[in-house]
């Protein structure tokens, strides 16, 4: 600890820059680096009776994680994350485009509106979705009232409800980076395309879209990655049939009381994400 502090405050850089860095560094060290390190250590330990931890180290938790019975969970998790990302992109790009180029003086109000779901707890949001989607919920009542249905449909606890919840929660994660990168495309560059004979569609495909690709990639990453770890959505809207990786992990900690196995699953997910991002960065630089 003393060594870390002297490393932090010593060196050739002026003290002020260390002071600027210090709060965030300490925060990250105590709340991210140390817990994550502990988690990794824990993942090599053994599970005892009644959730006790036996400090015998080995790879047995990892061997268990690769058991084929967990493959469907892994597959389902990636499928939901990918589907959420695609739906968010399809819904989010036109929205971000509208915000950037068409919203005019409503732009800031709409941006705030986009952020509103973040201000309420997502638990509250999901419980309100239950009210909408339930057997006697708003959606069923409305569909029956207007004669589209004769009997209520179970919308809840279906893949549709999960996807709806995920898209609802992660849409701003897609839209905000898209908005930021579309906003950085100079209007004069788009005008230059018109000037040189490109119609609206051509100008969009040849200029606006390629220049907003960094935002597309950032938006997809920011949506896809948290989706992989999401468990609350399935917990509330999906039910046990559609358990995802996040539920599997949270169950190890909450229900099965098998912290070492949960740690191993978490470490694998973390390694997969870091590896994936690293590969992406290498590909981007090449």
């Amino acid at each position: 600890m003393g060594k870390a502090l002297s490393w932090l405050l010593g060196g050739r850089k002026p003290l002020a820059s260390h002071l600027l860095l210090a709060p965030a560094s300490l925060w990250l060290i105590f709340l991210l680096v140390i817990p994550a390190g502990g988690l990794i250590v824990l993942s090599f330990a053994k599970n005892g009776p009644y959730g006790a931890i036996v400090w015998e180290f080995g790879l047995h938790n990892y061997a268990r994680a690769f058991d084929p019975k967990y493959l469907p969970v892994l597959f389902r998790t990636f499928a939901f994350a990918a589907a959420t990302t695609v739906v968010c992109l399809v819904l989010g790009y036109p929205l971000a485009y509208y915000l950037t180029f068409r919203a005019g003086r409503w732009r800031n109000a709409l941006l705030v509106g986009l952020m509103v779901p973040f201000w309420s707890s997502c638990l509250v949001a999901y419980y309100s979705w239950m009210i909408v989607l339930g057997k006697e919920g708003l959606l069923n009542t409305a569909l029956i009232r207007f004669g589209f249905l004769s009997e209520p449909i179970g919308f809840l606890y279906t893949p549709f409800a999960i996807l709806l919840g995920l898209v609802y929660f992660y849409l701003p994660f897609t839209v905000l980076p898209l908005y930021a990168s579309l906003d950085k495309v100079p209007r004069s560059v788009i005008e230059a395309a018109y000037d040189l004979g490109a119609g609206r569609w051509t100008a969009f495909w040849k200029v606006t879209l390629p220049l907003s690709l960094p935002g597309v990639v950032a938006g997809c990453i920011l949506t896809f990655i948290p989706c992989l770890g999401d468990f609350l959505t399935v917990e509330i809207l999906g039910g046990p049939r559609y358990y995802l990786l996040g539920n599997l992990i949270s169950n190890q900690f909450m229900m099965a009381q098998d912290w070492p196995f949960g740690s191993a699953l978490t470490s694998l997910l973390l390694a997969g994400l870091v590896g994936g991002l690293w590969l992406y960065q290498r590909w981007e630089k090449a």
Binding site: S188, E191, A192, D195, L196, G197, A198, G199
Partner: protein, 380 residues
Amino acid sequence: MDPPESAASPAPADYLCLSGVSKSYGPLTVVRDVSLAVARGEILTILGPSGCGKTTTLRIIAGFESPDGGRVRLSGADVTDTPAYDRDVHTVFQHYALFPHLSVADNIAFGMRMDKVPEDEIKKRVPEALAMVKLSGFESRRIQSMSGGQMQRVALARAIAGRPAVLLLDEPLGALDLKLRKEMQLELKGLQRRLGIAFIYVTHDQEEAMTMSDRIAVFNHGRIEQVGTPGEIYEMPKTSFVADFIGGANIFSAKVLRGEPGRAHLLLEDEHELNVPLDANESLPGIGARVKVAIRPERVKVFYKDELPFGLIRFDAILKDTVFLGDACQIYLQMFKKNPERLTIAWAGGDRYAVHDDMDVPVIAAVDPEDVYILERDNG
């Protein structure tokens, strides 16, 4: 103010012609009743201070803005309602507006690809356009790796590669340093002569306008103050704005005493009588009317001894200040006893007055009446 001479004449083929063009944003009118004709192969500069409506006028010609009133004609056809991508007009933007995700060659080929020019023709024309802007061999370079001057050249090559009828340039040299700007001015002029197409050049820099233009349209508050060759604009400014904006001028108030054919007797600042010439098409404003007159600083001669050449009008003046500028010297004179605050600026070449640091000494200022221009009625 006289209407611009181009207003009445119809547009022959190959001309760009604006007639009565206006544009407002809400309550703010930025372009008022602008009429202008540009000949094929001419460089016309739109000159004016920022906010005078010059860029908006250019954007109306390009098709990025539609005017509230008036028509735009190009090569005889009315293009007022033609969208930008269908106009045979290309623009060199102020900050280049190159496509950062495309190579130099693809930037230049963009317009030709939109016009469905065959690829083998494009392959020939891209190096041609690059050669014209002295960037041969830069085809595969990335935009981000280029300097401002190089980007400017690529923007130029991209705009001329499609061989438009009219090239619009919106302060194209604004972001370059002074030396590079001077070089590019002459280069642009040479390029325009070779291409033989019309350039419409927007700038707020009067020196640039004088260097580049066949004709200058001076804009102020969304209106054209005067259109003419650089010589006409400088030698015969029609309004005090033009006189003051181009080259600087001493603007005085005067009263018309009497007239004779082609000339007017004026009382300058209620002190000195002058007999000044009138323009051929200028009528005498009327006996007793107050007018504004201009005298260019370089036309005010300053003498320290009695050596007044024949034909000049003599003012007994007091030397108030001199500013040495290297190639010239600025002299501030007190010429009027009734209005001692009113200083007259004179230019003298070389270092003749540079070492003179005696202030408040009597000198003689001399003006040729032929160098005094009547600008407009003084309503103030």
